[in-house]
Symmetry: D3
Subunit: 280 residues, 6 copies
Amino acid sequence: MLEMEAVRKIIRRALEEDIRSGDVTTSNALTGSETGLATALAKEDLVVAGMDVFREVFRLRDGGLLYETELIDGARAPRGTILATVSGSLASILTAERVALNLFQRMCGIATLTKQFVDAVAGTKAKILDTRKTMPGLRILDKYSVRAGGGRNHRYGLYDGLLIKDNHIEAAGGIAEAVRRVRGQAPLMVKIEVEVKDLAEVEEALAAGADVIMLDNMPVHAMKQAVQRIGGKALVEASGNVTLATVRAIAETGVDFISAGVLTHSARAADISLKVKRRP
Amino acid sequence: MLEMEAVRKIIRRALEEDIRSGDVTTSNALTGSETGLATALAKEDLVVAGMDVFREVFRLRDGGLLYETELIDGARAPRGTILATVSGSLASILTAERVALNLFQRMCGIATLTKQFVDAVAGTKAKILDTRKTMPGLRILDKYSVRAGGGRNHRYGLYDGLLIKDNHIEAAGGIAEAVRRVRGQAPLMVKIEVEVKDLAEVEEALAAGADVIMLDNMPVHAMKQAVQRIGGKALVEASGNVTLATVRAIAETGVDFISAGVLTHSARAADISLKVKRRP
Amino acid sequence: MLEMEAVRKIIRRALEEDIRSGDVTTSNALTGSETGLATALAKEDLVVAGMDVFREVFRLRDGGLLYETELIDGARAPRGTILATVSGSLASILTAERVALNLFQRMCGIATLTKQFVDAVAGTKAKILDTRKTMPGLRILDKYSVRAGGGRNHRYGLYDGLLIKDNHIEAAGGIAEAVRRVRGQAPLMVKIEVEVKDLAEVEEALAAGADVIMLDNMPVHAMKQAVQRIGGKALVEASGNVTLATVRAIAETGVDFISAGVLTHSARAADISLKVKRRP
Amino acid sequence: MLEMEAVRKIIRRALEEDIRSGDVTTSNALTGSETGLATALAKEDLVVAGMDVFREVFRLRDGGLLYETELIDGARAPRGTILATVSGSLASILTAERVALNLFQRMCGIATLTKQFVDAVAGTKAKILDTRKTMPGLRILDKYSVRAGGGRNHRYGLYDGLLIKDNHIEAAGGIAEAVRRVRGQAPLMVKIEVEVKDLAEVEEALAAGADVIMLDNMPVHAMKQAVQRIGGKALVEASGNVTLATVRAIAETGVDFISAGVLTHSARAADISLKVKRRP
Amino acid sequence: MLEMEAVRKIIRRALEEDIRSGDVTTSNALTGSETGLATALAKEDLVVAGMDVFREVFRLRDGGLLYETELIDGARAPRGTILATVSGSLASILTAERVALNLFQRMCGIATLTKQFVDAVAGTKAKILDTRKTMPGLRILDKYSVRAGGGRNHRYGLYDGLLIKDNHIEAAGGIAEAVRRVRGQAPLMVKIEVEVKDLAEVEEALAAGADVIMLDNMPVHAMKQAVQRIGGKALVEASGNVTLATVRAIAETGVDFISAGVLTHSARAADISLKVKRRP
Amino acid sequence: MLEMEAVRKIIRRALEEDIRSGDVTTSNALTGSETGLATALAKEDLVVAGMDVFREVFRLRDGGLLYETELIDGARAPRGTILATVSGSLASILTAERVALNLFQRMCGIATLTKQFVDAVAGTKAKILDTRKTMPGLRILDKYSVRAGGGRNHRYGLYDGLLIKDNHIEAAGGIAEAVRRVRGQAPLMVKIEVEVKDLAEVEEALAAGADVIMLDNMPVHAMKQAVQRIGGKALVEASGNVTLATVRAIAETGVDFISAGVLTHSARAADISLKVKRRP
């Protein structure tokens, strides 16, 4: 579930960014009493994410608007699907339209791309993970959209997961020392993950007792060896410029998780239009 | 110039989103006294945008970090270019790294895509424009990045430009009436633009005295006729799912401006890495 | 229309400023169950502005209060007119009273003064404009009140209008250069205005292609010459310590707009009282 | 002393209101490297208030600007006095100018008007007080300006003074009951004031043990009687549409304090200009 | 009465602190459609404070939750008392539970301790006062809880009471000078209190005309002498590490007020449980 | 390490709560030019926590104050120890004093109490844990203070740990189902903990594959059996009204962790005074 209190902050900020002192076109070209119906239409095949966000934009703008949909997040919507309708004051709808679409199109775009990754690894044990390469200020939406597309979340931020990367290892003087340091201090409920670049480091991470081992940018055959060596003693995550073209081969190495920054740092906005009809 | 006070708000929010109660890995794996040098490297050809933003993330995290670069926004940086270096506390650098990259990669990504559009219309009079299809909360950065890539900004939001779209026209009962209404009320310094879908509406917009006429999703030959009919009596903007494949033909119709939502709603993040070396 | 989301921020801040930890008088002297009726009365002739603001203060304080009025913004209300009534919890009304009046009296004060300027130029083509000399934090209300009084808005801030003043001209090394610089960079939808102090500068501004020319503190006869010289090639605005005593003569020079800082930097609060009667 | 942390919030909000996404004129017409000197000049006789506020606006905009003045708040500055100078980046000065002046002119305006009231009662024991009729969001500045003009502050808000007005009395069923209720509950350090409209109510207020008695809109001869009757058993405040024309006569009745809403709800902005010279 | 607008800010901040990106347990372990009843139970004898705060936490989390209680703040609730019930969505109740209890337990804890102090001085004229030693960010709740327990509030902060302590006296060069300085500048409605450490200083404070005299850490017999010397010419407050063991003897010296920091800086949380039952 | 950006928010809010419109005593009784030295003294044996917070309060109030200490967080400070000194403007020190002490005394109080628990279990394998029963708005400080006292943190909030309590189990229809649900959805890096009340539930939790098992309010002998049954297959946490009197016996059952709400919901403020001396 999406934490709506956090979502509302994002929406209010977005509406304020777009409207500020007022929508000069709508407030002057309309009398304010016109009513009508707006229809959100999928103009390409997509996976739905963000229905509650889309609705909430209109609701925060005008509590009197009515919203209807028959879809839920995670559903596939082929080109031509009516995603939702909003009815009520045309002035309210027109002023909120752009923000609602900007958020909804991004969320559906991420879910759609994620689903493509998930489908690509179907039949393997690998789960698709997101990263922290999310849009600044929108992480909660980005990570939710990945889940709507069938992916799983890695950590939310620097505060809720111990991921010891190459830089930390260098700074601490080795994997063993780095893990030792964090183990003594970390919050009880957080796992420890170690990033490794070759099999030698896999050994070190195992010896240090990592909960999760991240294979960073390793060739597929090395990943396979690593998975066998780890043999269930830790969870295994593959990472590093994973694409739709490469994800299947990585999954077949037997890793537990594959993380892909592209899901959130370079997702295209889904093509969705909002058509408005005035009520006579 | 970027309004840095507004940028700082974005950065603080992004750092807070990522760090919250603390970077548990860095604060535990490092002693805090390690120092070193971080190098930002272009891993593909790109156009630079957001140098000040990149630096400001590190500066806000730790005023003692030193930043150096020889590039300015708008510069082309071929694959392999060192974009900037940051030196000082490793703990500070590692904690700020992700936010700095997330912002910088997006900005460079937008600038790079914009430049491709600008190059595609070279030799015509057409200027490339952005739209309001920006990332919620990041509009000021998105629009700046478009400028860094050689594009121009349309309006910033609903408050600083009168753009009468089909919906407003329907609500008002025609172009003439819609323009008449807004003309009497609008702030003095804001222009009036009318969106039209065919030549008949071009006539109406001209008659109503629009400052700018937006040709929305019109075929190229119709755009050409529209440009001739308008004959300099208003500025002409072409709009509607413009892509790199179609932009040149549109530019050759003689329009003054071409707006492309893709610049900001679907730009890929530029590929940039940050490598850290510890000082002995 | 007033952007109510922005207005609510102003009201919440004002209530917080006045109430903070609590209204110690009302919360102690009343039991909290008393109800009654409050009547807002015009104690001098005035032009109404801010009805929605006045109501919203009470509504934000206590959603259960009832509000009634038969007047709309822009209406003339002679001395003795009942402007509105509020009924419900006396404790709520008494605690919100001062903030509601402080805002309403200022807004009516500005509208009333603006209407005097508008009436003074009746029969000429000149429109009365406001400036950026508004009360910090209350600009949206000040500018709305000017519209309620029959005036027009100039720009909202530094972000939505290009106004090249003497200082910019000096810095850029002349009007031509200053206009050339901004023309290449400015957002599409924003007009360019140039401030001039004599006829020589009028020529330069015309040559540079200004959309609007501001005659700053020029004598009336020089304004007249300027208007003739410009001859419709740009809009003309007169500015500089305009008062009720001087505005008519300025309007008769044929300028399109007259801006007056006094409307917002020195408007008197309209005299309005709120009388409360307890329900038995 | 002014609480500068609170002042900075006001200034940041004001700058944000005026600049938002950026000062499009200054950032485009200037290169950003121009430097110069700005001189704030009194264009009428005034009493200075807000020197620290004026400086802080420039300092918050650009920490590199230099500020100089030889005056302190409360000083009289005749027409033609140079109030202060600011030097450094012209872009910074021009962008901050309007906000700095808007605040400074209001503060000097209030101080100047207050001093006129203070001078008018010279030789009597009466002190001039402000009210809660301040500009929403700017109360801390308004009340400081009154002090700079030689006035005293009444309470800051509903939270730091018990003022039982006619409405509270009606709700509570009489002065005695109202005072009794608040006395048992009020914070220790806050005084109790009762508003009375005639001599009968003066008796009641005295009997109830009020610390301060406010004579509301009473004729001068009745005030005189009230003062004699009270005979030092409580402080006496006169209130109700007090003007420069009436304040002397009121003071001569022997009241301790005279409060005047006009000081803050209707003060004119003092006439101050900022002239900028570019450094060659 | 509690100022609920200020309370809501505290609650929103607390919920955000606890929930941030989402309650991962509740949102995943529950379907979201489960409903039930939660019962708040006193697990020790206590004095109730914060009923409205407890309810408001649930209401802000989910407007659909129903709340019932038969108790009001200030009531004594023996061990085993059902304090309140909340019914509706189990997901909403479980997510809000901890914040609701954290606030409610603290408030009841303070009220309970305060009541013990109040009972200890029963029959004397002494009133129990709080101090500014409250939990940062929660002062409004702490001070309200003291009132619910039968105590009185001293000042709210540095802004609404003039308390001249030893440090101010040293800085000003003596009690007389310190009082003289503040008397000329202070807001009209605020009393002046002077902290004294012996009888000599009592004399000075009396001579200076203090409204309240605080006997700081004086022996009981000296307090008695001080009370007699002051003889009603000022209110008398005893202060300094007052405990339940010492408060009675202090009260019997005849002081008007006794302030105790322990009420808020070291109150235990009252023992309250929330038991949830699922509706079939 | 403490995340200082989050700490500064807490401090600013606390200063604002105490000072608001201004410290009327200090700003009036002092001239503002007095300087001096303030000494923070331990008036009882304590464990230090919050040195950086104490210093930051003064630094945020006045960047010119100098701070010195020879102690670090976690150090034991016997009664009479000088904890730190602050020197500079007396006005700045006096205004910030109360907030600095309120925060510092709470933090040292928590660390001191935690250390008593840690000492009580010395020689066993048990680590002392905190809970979410922290002071609303101050959780980051409370949890840090527990670490300074030698304790460990459980989770920070509902977002960074999956703790399935009895209520979740009831709602989901059993431990197995609840764990199954969360396992499929939870972020990768977060552990799953199950609360159990008897040995039967221990079996279920083990079967479901819990990472951590919390023994809630179980008798000591039952805990011992549970530890043996679990046999290292999950971490074991003991919980439920743990006190200094009971903690040792619990530790000797062999549990890995013991959590104690009392550390943060009922810690006494450490007794610390700040003595100020004026520089001649």
